[in-house]
Symmetry: C2
Subunit: 122 residues, 2 copies
């Protein structure tokens, strides 16, 4: 059994076009020999955002702390700690933090997509 604490201090900057002030840590991933899906911890700072993008695999998300905007296919919802989101494959989506406190969430992805390619950040 592997046990790790989701600590904002252990997250690292996400370097990706369209990202602003987002850090991430893979909590369970391919390096742990997890076979099917990866669990990542994201922290979005105030005024930060993930890229507005889409890809051929789904997200399952759990909001750990704070409040953020979740945009998906042109619709935006305010989400808060305790909310669970499902973003289907190919939907255009973005997370934004318009609050004055960190917005933290778990984002899970399948370990592979498109017939076996390793999912980025898995």
């Amino acid at each position: 059994m592997l046990i790790r604490h989701a600590d904002p201090e252990s997250t690292e900057p996400v370097e990706m076009d369209g990202v602003k002030d987002v850090t991430m840590q893979v909590m369970v991933g391919r390096e742990d020999d997890a076979p099917n899906f990866a669990l990542r911890h994201f922290v979005v700072q105030p005024d930060g955002h993930t890229p507005l993008h889409q890809h051929d695999y789904e997200h399952e998300v759990f909001v750990v702390e704070g409040t953020g905007e979740a945009e998906c296919e042109g619709e935006t919802h305010i989400v808060k700690a305790g909310d669970v989101l499902y973003i289907p494959a190919n939907d255009l989506h973005q997370f934004r933090n318009k609050s004055d406190a960190p917005f933290r969430f778990l984002c899970l992805v399948p370990m592979t997509f498109d017939c076996g390619k390793p999912t980025p950040g898995s």
Copy 2:
């Protein structure tokens, strides 16, 4: 995009040999057409526990609230809110709540195991 709040009041009793005072809600599962993995919300009441069991698929777990005992392959660790656990397939495991407050966690499973059988509780 699907958004649901992980609310203890929405969980239902888990009926299974070896379970005591555990409730659960599938937050994202096969009925939502999620293709690869299911996200479930569990609440273990004080003195409650999940079964001591093993199965041919892994768990990825995030502790949402409270403190519990996580036993895996004979070793027991105290886990708390913010901890992430990875329990490999076939490891014998159990969660117990020895505290006086609810112990809540997310537990994720692959949607299928053993060459395509639907995972229980997915």
